[in-house]
Subunit: 245 residues, 2 copies
């Protein structure tokens, strides 16, 4: 196994950081490593808004559901799907903008995620810790106002970077055979494998530092899908120009 594969397998989210700043050259390297990820149709449909102002950080921390590390991490940024930058050129080349299809929403969203995951790997390879902040989608409108995001741009998630001040365990993932299918989608054996995995996750929550709720994977994730999850997202996105045509 390469050391890179070991690095990837050792990922865990960090929610407590030291005060140590990230050197500017390293920060730039991390962003450029992000940019080097594949991008669909060469769109480069991701934009990063780096937030350093303490008051703005504090507001976003609250808007994200009270996540203090948004304010305290060495770096916090919002990763945005951006169809505006490319869309600006439609008029210049005498074309009309048609970038509000579901497909283009997917392309830009995937571009952001690929870039972000490269940034995460780059950061972790230098001893930094990271935490994705999906919680900004609790209040995407106010977050977008704070960052002055124009139409054609939406905040997909935030990202905290900093030097770790904690050392949590790696959280076990589903057995490979459950997520890897051969030739066709087939659920044979999944229920048994997931039942065993559920036990491992209960144990993980029971024993990890900080204690835990002892809830299984299947119970947790079924809750997510039994919720009207962030039902404001559709209207918010349409307002930003993503029309899901």
């Amino acid at each position: 196994m390469s050391s890179v594969i070991e690095l990837l397998k050792s990922h865990r989210s960090i929610r407590k950081f030291t005060d140590q700043a990230i050197p500017p050259e390293l920060f730039k390297d991390i962003v450029q490593a992000g940019q080097a990820a594949a991008t669909s149709s060469f769109l480069q449909g991701a934009t990063i808004v780096r937030v350093t102002e303490a008051e703005k950080r504090q507001k976003i921390a609250e808007l994200a559901g009270g996540q203090a590390y948004v304010a305290s991490a060495a770096e916090f940024m919002v990763l945005c799907a951006d169809l505006k930058r490319a869309g600006n050129y439609c008029a210049q080349y005498g074309k009309s903008f048609e970038g509000d299809y579901t497909e283009q929403f997917i392309i830009a969203t995937v571009d952001v995620a690929l870039m972000a995951q490269n940034m995460v790997t780059a950061a972790e390879s230098e001893g930094l810790g990271i935490c994705y902040i999906g919680g900004i989608r609790n209040n995407p409108g106010p977050v977008s106002e704070l960052l002055e995001l124009p139409k054609g741009v939406y905040p997909v998630f935030g990202l905290c970077l900093g030097y770790p001040d904690q050392d949590p365990e790696v959280k076990p993932r589903l057995p490979v055979n459950v997520i890897l299918k051969q030739e066709v989608y087939n659920e044979e054996g999944d229920q048994t494998a997931i039942a065993e995995y559920d036990e491992r996750i209960r144990e993980y929550y029971r024993t990890r530092s900080g204690g835990g709720h002892g809830i299984s994977w299947s119970e947790q994730v079924s809750t997510l899908l039994a919720e009207k999850s962030r039902p404001h997202m559709k209207g918010f996105l349409e307002g930003q120009g993503f029309k899901f045509r």
Copy 2:
């Protein structure tokens, strides 16, 4: 700069592969490195369908717009956003399934992309080359039928893996200052920077092996956004149960 950052920055898509197979243990490591990526709300909403049957590979190559390397790469798989696996447990815990909101679509799609990019980094760290195949969204219905994808599952993109039989250049990315904003979204200076970048891209296409069309970045991407891009996606996704509520 860490060797990992150098590795990330050296990415380019590979579209010509040798016959060499990928050792099964390495393939499994690559998948597990993918699984180790962050996952929103612990959903683990990504499923891989690995395709080895030659005839099926050939069909998917055609459905993706005639991309021969889909058939010839050592490994080809389709990465799917999967709300079914978790959704199965709603009934078991006495809850009704509400997993058809735009938010849950985003969560699962991002999960797939984060996993995929970790797989790509793992693969490239072992000397493999990769190519994402967004072209499967040309014909998502027929691809889903071939793979027997049930409701709650959709194919986000394909991924080819194999040992490279070509050595293309790295494609220059937008200047960092264009994609990295400070505090707010601000386009100051972008037009000038993009004009210079456009020249670099024209030059890249003119000089790269295989020749090229000499088209600028802005012209290329404005074309993408002036198209009714894969207008079937919305209807296809709704049919798979992603209702964009």
